[in-house]
């Protein structure tokens, strides 16, 4: 199978490239033509491809002319739409980095483009592939939790420093609310079976990094159509000097009591005298690897990979509503996302 990687803009691109390069069942080709726009010192282009051990071409036209079966889009958030549409037009199955888009209009257009081209669209939400979450979801599906009443989650991290575009509203679409709301929104979507969000409130500030143009701390409250509430702390509140980027946790309140899951809990911890910092050696499974495998298996089998474009639209709708809530300083209704139910998921 031929797999193309569009752009090294997102920090996850390096992880995907290494994983793809290590596989024996795929050929990999990459392109990162916008690398020159990045600030001096940021990696990219042919040099990064060489470092990652993957083949490289200079333009997306060459990349897509290669005839890839699948394309992984890792560009800046606002460029996802153009790149997904180009990949779909080339007849490739698409895995798009999260968030799918920075507006519901873009997300729906991307979903429509993939549907029109007859190619599947998957959104890169790796946490839903963590074994602890898979187990939670399966046990809930089997009725072990009874009814879920409330969810809360944390997705805290360091302010993204390796790539300046994450904190450039023109390229990212926003800050912490854009970057860190959607993982938990995806997990809630999976647990609740795709029930749409109906009401959203958000509050945010830039107190941790006042020189940035985007919010760096935020709390988003989502009410779903079935009455379940979800509270997300999406803050980039992990200190920059911390030895670990951040993490994600989810708490579930159900008829069966309280369940907490922490996909990043498996770790050996200690202290480094050399580096004067905490040692934190995660030994959990590589979630990117599990997600990529699910995507490639679906492409190979001709099945529809999940989470699909519909999940991308629903999670984008929550973020869009959160920004409307921030602008209007009130709780807002979620614009009904999606007239076109082209995919089930």
């Amino acid at each position: 199978m031929k797999v193309a990687l569009m752009s090294f803009a997102h920090t996850h691109a390096s992880s995907y490239a290494r994983l793809l390069a290590a596989r024996t069942d795929v050929e990999v080709l990459t392109s990162d033509p916008d690398a020159g726009e990045r600030p001096a010192g940021e990696s990219g282009g042919a040099a990064l491809a060489a470092e990652l051990g993957v083949a490289y071409v200079d333009s997306y036209d060459e990349l897509l002319a290669w005839g890839p079966d699948a394309v992984v889009v890792c560009s800046e958030n606002v460029r996802h739409r153009a790149h997904v549409e180009a990949a779909a037009a080339a007849g490739a199955a698409v895995l798009c980095e999260k968030p799918l888009a920075t507006s519901v209009a873009d997300a729906e257009a991307m979903e429509a483009a993939c549907a029109a081209a007859g190619v599947p669209l998957m959104v890169a939400f790796p946490v839903r592939f963590s074994p602890v979450f898979v187990d939670l979801r399966e046990q809930h599906a089997a009725g072990a939790l009874g009814r879920i009443h409330a969810l809360s989650g944390t997705n805290n991290g360091q302010v993204p420093a390796a790539r300046a575009w994450f904190t450039d509203p023109a390229l990212a679409g926003g800050g912490a609310v854009t970057d860190h709301t959607v993982h938990l929104a995806d997990l809630a979507d999976a647990l609740l079976g795709g029930v749409p969000a109906v009401r959203v409130h958000a509050t945010a500030n830039r107190l941790l990094h006042p020189s940035l143009e985007v919010e760096t701390a935020g709390i988003v409250t989502v009410t779903y159509a079935d009455g379940t509430n979800l509270t997300i702390d999406c803050s980039w509140s992990r200190p920059a000097s911390h030895s670990v980027w951040g993490g994600l946790t989810m708490s579930v309140v159900s008829d069966a009591g309280l369940v907490d899951v922490d996909p990043f809990a498996p770790r050996v911890s200690g202290w480094s005298e050399t580096d004067a910092t905490e040692l934190w050696l995660g030994y959990g499974p590589n979630l990117d690897d599990l997600m990529l495998s699910a995507f490639l298996d679906a492409v190979r089998d001709g099945t529809r990979p999940q989470p699909g474009g519909r999940v991308g639209v629903r999670t984008t709708a929550i973020v869009e509503a959160a920004y409307r809530s921030l602008r209007e300083c009130r709780a807002v209704d979620v614009e009904t996302a999606g007239s076109m139910a082209v995919t089930a998921g």
Binding site: T154, N205, L207, R330
Partner: protein, 323 residues
């Protein structure tokens, strides 16, 4: 010798009487029910048959009754010229709380709201670090408080207790404000399928400083271990605590219901209730102002009342609107 007159003999009175006795004061108890049992369980204290007798014989009155009775009892204590400790929330509404504060002011007596979480050592050391600036400017705080739902009765009657927000979550609403200052607006949500008995609520605060806080509370229908946790992050770093993560002993194979063996005491160190009541008692004897004041108690009620209004209107509520 100081005499403390306790009103009420329920759950919180059990915690208070043990602490009062440790502090060496004489304890009187008056309650519609349970006073004899409370005193018998602790081996000291005297049951008195009327409110008037309790007020006339006490130096300090400790109101441990259901929330909806606080105002009348605090006003009676103030009219009798006695300093008052009153369990949280001070009252069910801002209006009642303001009336209680005014009655105590006019009578020249102190009113001490028993926001005991300010005296829990893990919370206390965290606040001290915040107050000393070790975390810099606070940007985001998270608090959770989960426990088994109280049984049927006034706790579950929102009209009487204010429900989970006013009764349980007010601890953390107070604490978030203690750390990050006045609150500008409040958004609350509450779920819980009708009839299931489990209630889960979340209150988000936007402080006037721009700092933000999330406070979660759960009353679980099924029995669960009581658990609290917090994470507080600022420009200078962050602090977190989870009551489930900090056991000072862990046993595996010790005592079981059918077998004697090693069983660690449930709590180590000084009871936060003892710390709290010692501070109130010292103030009554002319000592320093306690770490929590009647005004703090009023502001906590104001935030909780705004949260309840947020539930009704399903929108954010500004504190000014909530007045």
């Amino acid at each position: 010798m100081t005499t403390v007159g306790m009103l009420g003999a329920g759950g919180i009175a059990t915690m208070h009487i043990a602490s009062w006795l440790r502090l060496g004061v004489d304890v009187l108890v008056h309650s519609l029910e349970g006073a004899d049992e409370l005193v018998a369980r602790h081996g000291r204290g005297e049951v008195v048959g009327s409110l008037d007798e309790l007020l006339s014989r006490s130096d300090l009155v400790d109101v441990c009754t259901p929330t909806h009775t606080h105002r009348a009892l605090v006003e009676a204590a103030a009219a009798a010229g006695k300093d008052v400790v009153c369990e949280k929330p001070l009252a069910r509404t801002v209006e009642d709380t303001e009336a209680m504060i005014e009655a105590c002011r006019r009578a020249g007596v102190a009113l001490h709201p028993a926001h005991v979480v300010r005296f829990f050592p893990e919370y206390s050391v965290m606040h001290d670090a915040v107050a000393r600036g070790r975390l810099g400017d606070l940007a985001v705080q998270r608090y959770d408080r989960h426990g088994t739902a109280p049984g049927p009765g006034w706790f579950r009657d929102e009209g009487l207790s204010g429900g989970i927000v006013m009764d349980l979550m007010i601890h953390d609403l107070d604490f978030a404000r203690w750390n990050a200052g006045p609150v500008a607006s409040v958004r609350a949500v509450r779920s819980g399928a009708e009839g299931s008995g489990t209630v889960a609520a979340n209150v988000v605060l936007t402080h006037r400083s721009g700092s933000i806080s999330s406070v979660g509370g759960v009353w679980s229908a099924g029995p669960v271990a009581f658990r609290t946790r917090f994470e507080v992050a600022g420009t200078g770093g962050l602090l977190r605590h989870d009551s489930a993560d900090n056991p000072v002993t862990w046993t595996n194979g010790g005592s079981t219901p059918d077998r004697d063996g090693y069983a660690p005491k449930v709590a180590m160190g000084e009871s936060p209730y003892l710390t709290e009541l010692r501070e109130f008692l010292a103030a009554t004897r002319g000592g320093p102002t306690p770490r929590v004041t009647a005004q703090d108690g009023l502001e906590a009620v104001r935030i909780a009342q705004a949260a309840l209004q947020s539930l009704v209107v399903d929108d954010a509520v500004s504190l000014e609107d909530a007045r």
